[in-house]
């Protein structure tokens, strides 16, 4: 708060009210409601409920389909995060170096940011189409008979490809702006000290990008956990069946389609705890992160 603030008493309350009311009704109420439901077992029609304590959580821990989905989510998140960060970093380093066409490249590489995940999923469906998808044809060159939506591995592969495609632009924007904020003097000093370009990159540029990288790491994990919902929903073609799904998608499938309110709420609570842990971890990193400039 500013030293020279205003002293009116009711105006600030009036200003804060709309936000607080909306948050109370649409954030705290549902969060509390979800927490409560996770300890109850509801009948499918919502007429009665029984308190089961941690029963829903125990059921989840013993459910093979939940554990399978959790395992898939971990692998999926690691792959998407790693690949989209790595590819975006390569592109950003190149885009930072070229002079001619720099602006055009920047535009071409970032606009996909605005494509909605489910639309990206639909594009993936077309690219991997069984009868004439260009990427399916490409896979066929290696003798790979690609069947999206039927084969578990193939569907997972398509999900990763589409999710990475969709996430590269955000990472690219952040890496590029991180690179451009490295002072010219530092670059010139590095140029004098080290003749090898890759040596300069790993010794100077990469450490300077570390803060951006940490931030993006968390953003990308959050992205692969939550924002990929649309991609997954379109890629499984509405038939989750044997297809891979992430934990967030499972919350939706079990709760909304399967009507298992308690089980689905328990899954939500587990995700909430996961996100909270990640945020705490992120703040810790930010506190410790070293500023070079």
């Amino acid at each position: 708060m500013k030293r020279a603030g205003f002293t009116q008493r009711w105006l600030p309350i009036l200003l804060l009210m709309p936000q607080l009311v909306i948050i109370a009704v649409f954030f705290y109420w549902p969060a509390a409601y979800g927490l409560r439901s996770s300890f109850f077992l509801q009948d499918p029609f919502g007429f009665s409920e029984t308190f089961v304590g941690f029963g829903n959580y125990l059921t989840l821990m013993r459910s093979p389909s939940y554990l399978k989905s959790a395992g898939f989510t971990v692998i999926f998140s690691v792959l998407v995060t790693f690949l989209s960060l790595a590819i975006a970093l390569i592109l950003a380093v190149k885009a930072d170096r070229v002079i001619r066409g720099a602006k055009t490249y920047r535009t071409l590489l970032m606009w996909v940011y605005a494509v909605a995940p489910p639309v990206a999923g639909v594009i993936g469906l077309i690219m991997f189409d069984q009868s004439w998808g260009p990427l399916m044809d490409f896979a066929a060159l290696f003798g790979w008979d690609f069947v999206l939506g039927v084969n578990y591995f193939d569907t997972a592969f398509a999900m990763v490809v589409v999710s990475v495609w969709k996430q590269i632009p955000v990472n690219f924007i952040f890496f590029l702006s991180g690179l451009q904020s490295i002072p010219r003097s530092v670059r010139e000093a590095a140029l004098i000290d080290n003749r090898s370009a890759s040596g300069r990159f790993w010794d100077v540029t990469f450490p300077l990008l570390a803060p951006t990288g940490f931030f993006l790491l968390i953003t990308n994990i959050t992205y692969s956990l939550f924002d990929t919902f649309g991609i997954i929903d379109t890629t499984v073609k509405g038939e989750p069946g044997n297809n891979p799904m992430t934990l967030v998608y499972k919350v939706y499938v079990d709760g909304f389609r399967g009507n298992d309110m308690g089980g689905s709420s328990a899954q939500s609570v587990i995700l909430m705890v996961l996100v909270l842990l990640m945020t705490v971890f992120q703040f810790r990193l930010i506190e410790r992160r070293i500023h070079y400039t």
Partner: protein
């Protein structure tokens, strides 16, 4: 890249360009193919799939996409979905910015007894995305009778603090002398807010608007749950139905479906491209 006679071609430079061109192609080709399929007769697409030979059916398919309705009730034409998408995108962006600025102003510029409490209540919302509390949120919207309404669609999405946080950071960086000067000149808090702070934040507001518009336009899970009436569908929400109509029919309407997908992409993409510098500034500064 043309080499001037006196200068040698630098190979590392060529490699840089090749990598960037490959990257750009991967980004843009799929969408070019959407456009290509939208420009061909359906039978052509069914036989050959996506390619790079453009046909002349673009106007016909666009008309079909805009005015022909699919689904059971025949009310979700492209125009209707476009309209709903704009309401969601603009309503969400405006709502978020207005509430965020008001709350941030109260927190930064006033001496409030429970300021810390309000601050934490608001900022806790940054921790939990809507996706993790999706079902209880749905039940509550249902209890409030807001299913299939724009309020039910937009307001729960606004219940997070990203914009408040962003404007709080910005207001704190505004020089303190401005408030003092305004107070000496006899300007009250309302006048100061409207005549000084809002004009000062113009660029920030624009940046926020672009990011929030794209975010709102691209919402999928929440609209999927809240809107079941077909006349409430947004383009992004309707996309699944569009693709499902591609399967199981003798001659799927590829042209129309791909045109609708393009319509869903186009407005946010154009905004991001045209207001690129604001957008990049807003994105890289807000998230830190």
């Amino acid at each position: 890249m043309t080499a001037t006679p006196k200068r040698r071609i630098k190979w590392s430079n060529v490699v840089d360009h090749l990598v960037l061109i490959a990257g750009s192609a991967v980004m843009i080709l799929p969408v070019v193919m959407l456009l290509q399929m939208a420009s061909n007769p359906d039978i052509e697409t069914m036989r050959n799939g996506p390619g790079l030979t453009f046909g002349d059916r673009l106007p016909a398919n666009t008309t079909k996409a805009l005015f022909e309705a699919s689904g059971f009730s025949g009310v979700n034409s492209g125009v209707q979905m476009l309209y709903n998408s704009f309401i969601l995108g603009i309503g969400f962006a405006v709502g978020k910015i207005v509430l965020g600025m008001m709350a941030a102003y109260a927190i930064v510029y006033f001496r409030l007894r429970f300021a810390t409490l309000a601050f934490w209540m608001i900022f806790t919302t940054l921790l939990l995305p809507l996706e993790v509390r999706i079902l209880p949120s749905y039940e509550i919207v249902q209890k409030l009778g807001m299913l299939n309404t724009f309020q039910g669609l937009i307001i729960p999405l606004i219940a997070s603090a990203t914009a408040t946080f962003f404007f709080r950071q910005f207001f704190r960086a505004v020089p303190e002398e401005l408030v003092e000067a305004a107070r000496i000149d006899g300007a009250g808090p309302v006048k100061f807010f409207i005549d000084i702070l809002i004009p000062l934040s113009r660029t920030m507001i624009a940046a926020m608007f672009i990011i929030m518009f794209v975010y709102g336009w691209n919402q999928y899970l929440w609209p999927t749950m809240i809107t079941t009436d077909e006349d409430m569908y947004t383009l992004v929400r309707g996309i699944k139905q569009i693709t499902q109509s591609l399967e199981g029919t003798n001659l799927p309407e590829y042209g129309r479906a791909n045109m609708l997908a393009l319509l869903a992409i186009l407005p946010p993409v154009l905004i991001v491209i045209f207001f690129q510098s604001w957008f990049v500034k807003g994105l890289t500064e807000s998230d830190k």
